[in-house]
Structure formats: C-alpha cells, structure tokens
Subunit: 269 residues, 4 copies
C-alpha cells in the first residue's frame, strides 16, 4: 500500500478523476481456463472454459485492478460450478465492488444412445453460466445451445414427397431459482425439436431419425413456443429467453425466433 510503486499507481489512477461516471462492468474478457463440471451420472467431466470476470465501478473509483481478476481465476486450478459461485464472492470482496459478474462458457458432452441400435456416442453442447452478485443478491443464469434437426411443415405439406430439413441451433437461457442439471435442460430442448442429433447413427438409426423428423415437422415459431411451454411448466425457472436459428437448407439465410419471459413480474430480473 505504501510502497513507492503503489503510490505511483494511485497517482496514475487519480490523475484525472472528478466528474466520473459509474461503469456498469469492467474487467477481463476471453480468458481460457481449465474447468471441471459434474454430470448427472455422478461423474465429472474435464473441459476448457472461456471466462469473463467483471465488477461494477462506482463513480468515485478511478479504476479497477485488472491483475486481481486473473489472480482469483488462477487460484482455482480447475474451475468448477462451485468455484464459479466462489469467484463471484471473491471478486466482489477483493475488488471492493458492489456488484460482480462472472461468465463461463464451455463445451459439455453428453453420452447418448442411438435410438435403435443403442450405439453410444458423445454429443457436444455449448453451455454458459452467467452470474451476477449485487450486495447479497446472487442471480445465476444457465444457457445451453442445442443443435437439433428442424423439418419444415410447409415443405412437407405442399410436396408430393420429401420435406426440407436443416440443422437448427436452439438456445435456452434460464434464470434459475433452484438446482437444475445441464442434462435436464438439454433434454427438454431436444424433445421439442423435430429430432435430436447424435454422434453415431447406424442405418436403422438413420431411418428412425429421418422418419421421426418427418413425423414431427416444426416451424421456427413452433420450436420456440414448445420449448417456452416446457420452461413455463418448470417452477425452478424464474425467467428465460429461448431462441432458435434454423440454417435453412433451401436459403442462404436463417429463420429466427425468440421469446423472452419473466415469470415473476413483480421481481426484478
């Protein structure tokens, strides 16, 4: 505190000063770090997460201490969901902030059995934890990005045979007020697509998913509404955003839809 460099730094940091504005979030972004995430089967999986770590900065503070974010992150040799929570408190504390923000985004694997052959293979999903701690109020959102098959009802309805299908990316961001497994969210979303995806499909599986999608056509509107219906029915979810982007196989653009809902209108989200 009283060493010459610190004095020099304070000097640098306060040279300007006066009529400052509050900064909503300031910190470090796009840091890769090893992470370990527990899965529903009692195991845990090692992955690599991309982190952003921020604080709010009141108007009377000249600047934040960038290296402290990195020190806190590096104390967690492997970041876990638990350390995700701890970091929110550590950052708020060590950086003397009113509000801390942590975001961690990582590929997550779920082993799935092919629908007929039961051959097992991994599917990867992008998962993001978004945390915000303001005084004692901790809010956590989970986002899962689920690639899936969509098959166009209109194409099916008007064609003598066939129907165009494509890969869609369905993203659900949920503000949770209880515990929820990543696997639960992924399954919930997958069940509302025309069909879900697999790493390995043998021939009878490929027949199954082809016919399943054809039997279950969905517009982009249907996908987001059907996922929303499921999220509405889950009391652990206080608010959500659900999006679908369909990489149309007959166009060079995407069809897109989004529903945003706060189920607790009296609570600030």
């Amino acid at each position: 505190m009283s060493n010459p460099q610190q004095i020099k730094r304070d000097d640098v940091q306060n040279r300007r000063g006066s009529r400052q504005t509050q900064i909503d979030r300031v910190g470090v972004k796009d840091i890769l770090h090893p992470a370990v995430v527990k899965d529903r089967n009692g195991g845990e999986q090692q992955t690599v997460a991309r982190f952003s770590l921020c604080v709010s900065l009141p108007r009377h503070f000249k600047g934040t201490h960038m290296s402290r974010f990195m020190e806190i992150l590096n104390l967690h040799e492997h970041a876990t969901v638990r350390s995700f929570h701890e970091m929110l408190f550590e950052i708020k504390d060590k950086l003397e902030a009113e509000t801390s923000h942590v975001e961690m985004s990582f590929p997550y694997f779920i082993e799935k059995s092919a629908p007929i052959s039961r051959v097992r293979s991994l599917m990867d999903y992008n998962v993001t934890f978004i945390g915000r701690l303001e005084r004692d109020d901790l809010q956590v959102k989970i986002r899962v990005a689920v690639p899936a098959t969509s098959l166009c009802p209109c194409s099916r309805g008007i064609s003598d045979y066939g129907a165009h299908s494509q890969r869609s990316l369905i993203t659900a961001t949920v503000h949770i007020r209880g515990f929820i497994w990543i696997e639960e969210l992924v399954e919930l979303v997958e069940q509302e697509a025309s069909c879900d995806l697999y790493g390995i499909l043998k021939r009878p599986d490929e027949k199954y998913v082809t016919e399943r999608a054809y039997d279950n056509p969905k517009f982009v509107e249907d996908i987001v509404r059907d996922v929303a219906g499921r999220l509405n029915a889950d009391d652990r979810i206080a608010a959500y955003t659900v999006e679908s982007e369909n990489l149309e196989s007959i166009h060079n653009h995407s069809a897109y839809a989004v529903i945003e809902k706060d189920k607790t209108p009296n609570t600030e989200y």
Copy 2:
C-alpha cells in the same frame, strides 16, 4: 387467398394453435444485400449490408410469412437509410404486426488524412442501424465500432521507457432522437482514444501517432468514461451503450468495460 395451396398452408399453419405464447421477434436473419449510404460530404457510398428482419407475433397467430420479409427486402434494389425506415413500416404493414424490427450492419469507409503528411487513405468501420417500430413509435439506434489505439497509463508510469499499446475496439450504440452523421459518431469516439487509426502512415505520421498515444495514455475505464462524457453532452442522443475491448499486447485476453445510460429516465427506452 382462396386458392387450394393457400388453404393448405393456412391448414398447416393452424393445425396446432390454441394456447400459444407471444413471440417477441420472428423473421429472417443474416441476409446479405447491397446498400447505399450517404456520407457527410454529400456523396454516397456503396456497400454490402447484413440484414435481420423480424416482427413480433401475437399469441393468436400461428406463424409469420417468411418469404414476405425477403420480398420487401428485394423491393429495395439497394438498401438506403431511407429504405431502412421504409422497411420498418412495410414489414409492420404487410405482415400485420404490432412491432417490426430491422437491423442492417455494414462496413463504412471514411477517408482520412494522415496527421502530418496529409496523405489520404480509407479507414473502415462497422456500422449498424437498429430500428424498432411499435404502433407509431419509431426508435432508431446507431452503432459504430471504432478500432483505435490504447496506451496503458500504468505501463507508462512505471517503466523507464516505452509503454505497451494495443488495438482496441470501441463500440458506441446510441439511441438517437435527431439526425446524426456516422462521421460525427466515429470522430467523437476516435477523439477519446489514445490515438485514432489510419490506412496509410508515412514516417513523420508514424512518429506523430506514436508520440500522441504516449502523451495520451488511457485505461479501458478512461476510454468508456470519456466517450460517455461526450455522449452525455450531445442532446441528440437519448440513451447509449459504450464499450471498449482492448486486445492487450502483454496478455492473451482483453480488458473490457461498458457503460449503459438512459438519459431520459422517464421515457421507456
């Protein structure tokens, strides 16, 4: 309307129905289209824009008409800022929606003179227009993404010589209530960086920008606050978000800060 296909389509679109949820935005995304943008010098520049076109969809509507978005876009052989506004009305009208959304994002060029040699060269900026028309209420935001030099005050303060600098991307998204040139926004942002960038710099220019950045060190906090100060002072701007991402030259991550402000707290933004 009464042809068999239309009947079939309505059938498809209403097969489900009933207990539907409102969709906040539904439409098409990531369409490239030629665009023409007027510049402050009285000329106009041809560019290529990436469009998203959406409507809100009330709960009692089964789906929207995706091809109509593309028809409206293709009526504008070259999209202009004027047609950006027209499209908001056309989409709301033709798709019988309460709210329409149009986003167009494009590279924009400004010819700049090097600071000493006055050699002229083009600099490119990414510009986005974001429009939302709800009943009669039209809201337009402009976003400019301005690459610039930042030079670290701490590094300068503690080092016997030198100071690390890096490229930063400073993004200002402004909700306007009057007319503002893209060039004005870009200049406003550039003036608050350690130094602005140029396509061509001759040797005396390179000396100038090197020394200018050294004389004008800025933390990421300073950059967003100084841009915010300028936006606060401009009455044409009702609300804004200003971000800076500094691609640190001494780290493999970015320093980041954001300020969001609504200057008219009584108005819904």
Copy 3:
C-alpha cells in the same frame, strides 16, 4: 531517398541483417476496400472486398515497405478485376520484388428467378481472386463458395418416407488460363448439388425445390466428383480444388470431401 528520415529508416532496417532467410510472402492482410465487379449481364456491382497484398522478399533485403502496399491499394478508389491485375504489377514494381501476391475476397450477388413463380431475388456468394506474378508469369485463381442443398441418398434409400437434407458449402478454386465469368462457375457448381438456393421461394417453388432435392440425392463424395467432372471438361481451367462441407442436419459435425487436380501435369502449378 536521401532525406534524413529515409537514411534513418534504412538504418533501422539494416541494423540486423547478414544471415537472412528468404521470406515467401510478406505484406498486409485483412484490409477492407470498396470494389466494383462487372457482371455477365453487362452491368457492374459495387461491393466491399477484403484484401491481402504481399511480395516475396529475397534474403539480402532487410524488410519491405508496408505503407507502399496501402498506397497502391488507395490509388484504386474502387478496386476492379482490372485493378486487381494492375496491382500485381504495381506491387512487384514499386516494391522491387520478384514475386507479388494479391488476394481479394468479396460478396457477389446474382439475381435468380425462382424455379416456378419466376420471382426474382438476390443470392450472395463469396468470391475470391488469388493472383501471383513471378517475373512475367501471371497466375490467377478464382474461388467461388456456393451454398447449396444436399440430400442424403442413404437416408432416402432406407426410409419409408422423407430424407434428411442440409445446407452445404461447395467451394471451387480454379486456376484459369482464359476468361470465365463468376456466374459460369457458380452455375456449374449449383447444377451439381441436390438443389440450388434462392432468396425468395413462393409455395410452388418450395414444392419444386423440395421434390427436386429428393429426386437428386447426393453424398458429399458425389458432389465433389460431379463438380470435378464438369471442371475436367472445361478447357479454360488448368487446375482446381473442389471441396464440399455438408452441415449434416442429423449430426453436430460436417461431412467433408475434397478433390485437387492439376490437369497439366507438366506445368508447375
């Protein structure tokens, strides 16, 4: 040449020196610049191109002159295919190099008529010109990246109804020894996909493209072989690479194939 700064620069540039290695390519990369490209209909279209400009650097040269690349580019207010060729000569000349390299990559629009309704709309393609001038030997390659529909023959063959389709990106890079329109290359590729894409499809068009893809199933192997067959038959093409990446709608990965062929084995490509 003899001004003090130039002397100083030479000094800087030759301070090290001695046991140098030849540099294959050195220059500037990722510069956006306005471009104008003539189309087959006699018109021209304005677009924005991303440029790379390089030279080879012999071992006895300490360094190149980065600002000269930008000066040459900025002399071409709007880059054309003609100025693409001129830049190769200008760069080789002004930078006293044995070999110059220019790459320009841009979105290009083709107006297409929907297959049944004949409704017209724009489709965008990414096009790249790759030029290399070594002494007097000029070699030019054109790359077109063509998004298209692929429909899986296996899925069709084994399923009672339906067949999965997806968007594919088919890329042909051709070393030309004569003139060829971008439109010719794009059409050649599109004709070998299961079906080509359109900006606007009305209902009868959507029926057509759905059934057309179903009638014309192709594995990724078929696509690259069929395009290769067409390129083999075109005498204006001396060598080529054709790739297809199918964004499988039943997997979260792509199927991929590539064929590289030099039709003139005695010539160095």
Copy 4:
C-alpha cells in the same frame, strides 16, 4: 455384410459409379471430443479437441463409411497423442483406405512464472496435430499458435519517446522426425518475439515486459526469420512453415509474413 440393410446400402452407394475420380480426402469434420495431453512436467492435462478424420478414396470406390470414423473416435474415450497415432492406423484399416488423415486441434495450457514477481499463471495456446498415413509412411506435423508482443523498430527509431506495440499471433507448423514437446516449440517461438505474454503480471513484471519489448523491437519480417533460424538449427524438424500476423495498433489491418521451408529437399514433403 449379407444383411438386407447392407445390401440396400451397397445398392445406394453403387447406383451411380463408373467413371469416378479419386477423392483426395473424404470424411468428417469439426467434431469436438475430450482429449488428454501429456505435458513436459510429467503430468497430463485434460482438454477438448476439434477433430477431422478423413481417408483418400480410390476411383473405384463409390463412397466411404462416415459412421465408422465416428465409431473409431468414440472408442477413444479421451483422445491422447497416442490414440491420435492409433486412429491413423485404425481409420486406414477399417475403411480400407490407402491414406488416412487425422487432425486434432486443442487449447493447451502452460503455467508460466511472471518475469520478476514469479507469480504463476496459465497461458493458453492453440495446438494442432496433423497426421497422414500413406501405406506405411507416417508423417506428423505439429502446429503451435503463439500469441506474443511485437514492438515496431521503425516507430521506436523515429519517435522521441514510445513505440507502438501490439499483439501478434506467431504460428509454427513443423514436420517432425523425432519427438518434440509442445513446450519446446512454444518457448522457441516466444523467445523470438519482442516479448512473450503472461496471464498475470504484477507491477514490476509489467515494467519488465514493457522495457523488454522496447529493448527488443522486431518487424514482422524479423519475427519469422528469427523463428526460422531456430527451426533450421533443430534436427528434429524436417520442414516447417512459420507465419506471423501482427494486429497493428496504429492500423486496422495486420502486417503478415510467412516462410515455408523443406530442409530435406530430396524427400517428398
């Protein structure tokens, strides 16, 4: 082999046929899969790799078996460098190919001590293994992408104070004929930049790296030549490509250089 589905598949795959072209590479691309990589300290690190798996396909084969690639990958619960080699043989064998190709690309962490404070933190690097097995000839390349600081000698030379620096991405792709640690390659590259990067830098460290870069200015030409000099001197390296892309802090484009060298000119690379 003789089950009805297999017959049906063969039927699908041979329906066309005849005058086929050889396919250089066909397979699956962009698959995420868990991986474990041994580090030089005797430990191992868990990461997530992006895989491409391909074979060459002779002209008389109608198609390859896409699901077999995924089966082979999924047999390796966690891919290692050893399984990277095994997969090359397994793919060549199970798909009855003359040539197999495997590429795995992953973030890799090295714990580094800050230069003065010795504070330890992780730095991440993108590493790629590229393997090709043709009959009995196995060729392996390793690519490391190393972010580093470059400081411009010209800017330093002409300015009264300061010198612009920026983040550079230096990529070395080496064809090895012996064993080499990832750490060795990364260090070799880092030592030839103006300065290397760190996750955490305390104030005395920041002073050190600032002055170190200033004392060690490098053009993009110097960087690739100096790395090339090191690779020339290492007998374990048969051939290499070294690139540097400097994200100039005074321009909105990059400076770029590349050297490609085969040290064994009599051997086909």
